[in-house]
């Protein structure tokens, strides 16, 4: 009798577990629709997203990220600053000149002898070439221009360089990625390398591939960059986030983007 009760309860537990698994977004690695979002063992966040969220991203019209792409397109030819120049005056047609740029950032910049993320490179152009003011972190114009530039590389595989002059930054990024932090005492790698595909409460953990940034996040109700997401992750593990554009946050973005090398740029992606 006791045995059968045990059997029933085991069956219930199994049912509960499979029931939970059924609630996950469907993902079939052999589905040809998923092929653009997989590279070897790497899976884009798209494959972890709900079908409704994927549908929003699939149609450029329903993808709210394109509001930022269009804003960036306008800013591209708008002259600002003392030099009276627009991005267009030096770089010409963004569809040609910016193609592939988004796929190689964060990148070592010999002029400042440091690794720069795309936002910092845009602001460098603004202050040095256009003699204009820097755009503030997470401001609409900076996010719009970053999205517009990165979007020109959509569909191209990420190819971030981790060796050569970028090596010390890459090593720093790796160290921070593996370092436990905050009240929860976890590292990036615990969620995104060791336990991806499993649940953190109701959240399905992804591999943490940043190939879709800047991305429209439904939770944010707006578009945000990888910098914002890394800061958000830090808050979630109850750690003090690294400042915007700080060497730590840039190194982390470099390492995280290197992990996604081979996955195609999706900017602007849509996520939960």
């Amino acid at each position: 009798m006791r045995k059968s009760v045990l059997a029933v309860s085991v069956a219930l537990v199994v049912a509960a577990v499979t029931g939970k698994a059924l609630a996950d977004p469907p993902f079939d690695p052999k589905d040809p629709k998923m092929a653009p979002y997989i590279a070897g063992d790497k899976r884009s966040g798209y494959t972890f997203a709900e079908p409704e969220t994927r549908a929003m991203q699939d149609d450029d019209f329903t993808n709210p990220g394109f509001l930022w792409v269009e804003e960036g397109k306008k800013l591209w030819s708008k002259a600002e600053g003392a030099a009276g120049k627009a991005c267009k005056d030096c770089h010409g047609d963004a569809e040609k000149s910016m193609k592939g740029v988004g796929a190689v950032y964060p990148r070592f910049d010999p002029h400042v002898n440091s690794v720069l993320i795309l936002e910092q490179k845009i602001n460098q152009c603004r202050t040095e070439r256009m003699k204009a003011d820097e755009w503030k972190w997470d401001s609409k114009p900076l996010n719009a221009m970053t999205t517009f530039v990165k979007h020109q590389s959509r569909g191209m595989p990420l190819a971030v360089q981790a060796d050569g002059p970028a090596a010390p930054y890459f090593e720093m990024g790796r160290r921070l990625y593996l370092q436990r932090r905050g009240l929860n005492d976890v590292a990036c790698k615990h969620c995104h390398e060791d336990y991806w595909g499993q649940h953190l409460r109701t959240e399905l953990l992804s591999q943490g591939m940043p190939n879709g940034f800047p991305q429209y996040r439904l939770k944010w109700q707006t578009l945000g960059t990888a910098q914002k997401r890394i800061r958000g992750c830090n808050e979630e593990v109850r750690a003090e986030p690294y400042p915007w554009g700080s060497i730590e946050n840039v190194a982390l973005e470099l390492y995280a983007t290197w992990r996604a090398n081979g996955l195609k740029v999706e900017s602007p992606a849509v996520r939960k």
């Binding site: 329903t62 709210p64 804003e71 439904l218 109700q221 707006t222």
Partner: protein, 106 residues
């Protein structure tokens, strides 16, 4: 100034039912949030959307505080005659954002 994005077919057969897709970048500030100093952020949402087809109102919708930011709206119209489709978003502060689209009905 929010910029609307609109997708309407340029041509349609008479009697054909076509889809109007719209989206607009707007924060839709609900009035429920507080800023970093603890002061409430005043409500600022688009409270009304109106679509007119050659001056005649064909679609109207009242929006409330729970509508998401950057609202997406799609609806269907019947092609009756060539002309213009006017879309207007009415903001709480009195501003009106508009878009216009020409359609040829054969």
């Amino acid at each position: 100034m929010p910029t609307p994005r609109v997708k309407i077919p340029a041509q349609a057969a008479k009697g054909e039912v076509f889809e109007v897709k719209t989206t607009i970048d707007h924060d839709m500030e609900s009035g429920q949030r507080k800023d970093s100093a603890g002061k409430p952020i005043p409500r600022k949402i688009i409270n009304k959307f109106v679509c007119t087809y050659n001056g005649k109102e064909v679609f109207k919708s009242d929006w409330a505080a729970a509508i998401s930011a950057n609202p997406y709206l799609s609806f269907f119209l019947t092609a009756t005659e060539s002309g213009s489709i006017e879309l207007k978003w009415h903001d709480d502060d009195g501003q009106v954002y508009s878009a216009s689209h020409a359609i040829t009905v054969a």
